[in-house]
Symmetry: C2
Subunit: 192 residues, 2 copies
DNA sequence: TAGGAAATCTAGCGGTGCTAGGATTTCTAG
DNA sequence: CTAGAAATCCTAGCACCGCTAGATTTCCTA
């Protein structure tokens, strides 16, 4: 008795992905406010109630998109991390990867970290994807920080600083043209 | 020809303040989503259109509340700053003041820095209140940082880190019980 | 091929931000 | 004191929102 998915399950899973893809595209193009259930159902060429046979509500759609984003961010951080050994270049690459991700996918980043549709990090009951992403962050600091007891704190402060830079930059609240100087300062200060 | 306000202007200004006060209370009690024009008009005991004779739209109301919040935050930072001379206690007090403000007024903080209803900082055309608040931040670093050319960068990175800590903490995304350790680490690292 | 289950849609509920147009109050001038 | 102008305020409604009950259609199975 294999558990391979039948045709029904397959098309259902495909449509779920379609919904998420369209939602993400629409959000990235016009912001999450423009992602209404009506416009979404129109673009997937099904009626509104179909959305609710895949997701409990609109927030669940955003959360599912966010989860995909977290997975992508984890990959980006891992790649940046693995490409370096020396502390400064390593941390700098991770910082650039994080900030680059936020800048390249602003709506996705919003869904992950700003809209707060109910994703928990760094907790025992957190979804594996989220724990994995946080773990990639921590791994970057493990390779760079002396005191192993302080790695958790370093990770959280580093993350917070990057998150702050990402959001304030996007909102146009920091001076233009000083981006590199800020990242430089941050990375140098975080290194022991 | 004095320009003292007549009775009409006075009651209008008072009602404007009433709207802002009620909006802030309601937001702090139930979040900004609960601040609808209907509930707002109900609580000020006027009809909805009256709101629009004071503000262009709902976002303008939120922005006005946010501006009050920025002024309050500037005062809080200045007090913390003036109470110390030694670098570490000074910066630590400013950090505590900032994070304490964010924790004590979550909805207000959202309006100021998360909802993004169109406030610009650190720009020539920024409203004076916003420039003043940023100035208070910079003054804290002026008293503490050696290289005067780097103060702007320090200020922005420090602010970003605090902003990140404030938002991630509130969203429950950082480990409980480690708050002091994070602030300690941040302040120590920012000091030269 | 008939009948039941699954999938899908139509229509609608109560809510949102916002506004046009008419009623009411208030001020002003003769 | 009063007529008319001006400022003020409200009723009613528009288009949209998230979401769902119930009818309808499609599909699978016996």
């Amino acid at each position: 008795m294999t558990s391979e998915p039948g045709r029904r399950e397959r098309v259902k899973a495909e449509r779920r992905e379609l919904i998420l893809r369209v939602a993400r595209e629409l959000a990235e193009a016009e912001g999450w406010d423009a992602v209404t259930t009506r416009r979404l159902s129109e673009r997937i060429e099904y009626s509104q109630p179909v959305l609710y046979s895949h997701f409990a509500n609109k927030d669940a759609i955003i959360a599912a998109v966010a989860e995909q984003g977290v997975a992508e961010l984890a990959v980006a951080i891992e790649q940046a991390r693995r490409a370096h050994v020396e502390p400064y270049p390593l941390l700098r690459a991770v910082a650039d990867a994080y900030l680059g991700f936020a800048e390249a996918n602003p709506a996705l980043y919003d869904a992950m970290f700003t809209l707060d549709v109910g994703l928990r990090f760094a907790r025992p009951d957190s979804p594996p994807v989220l724990r994995e992403a946080f773990g990639q962050f921590a791994a970057a600091f493990e390779a760079v920080i002396q005191d192993p007891a302080a790695i958790g704190t370093f990770t959280e402060v580093g993350w917070a600083a990057l998150h702050g830079l990402a959001t304030l930059t996007r909102a146009g609240r920091l001076a233009d043209g000083q981006h590199d100087a800020r990242v430089d300062l941050l990375v140098q200060r975080l290194l022991a």
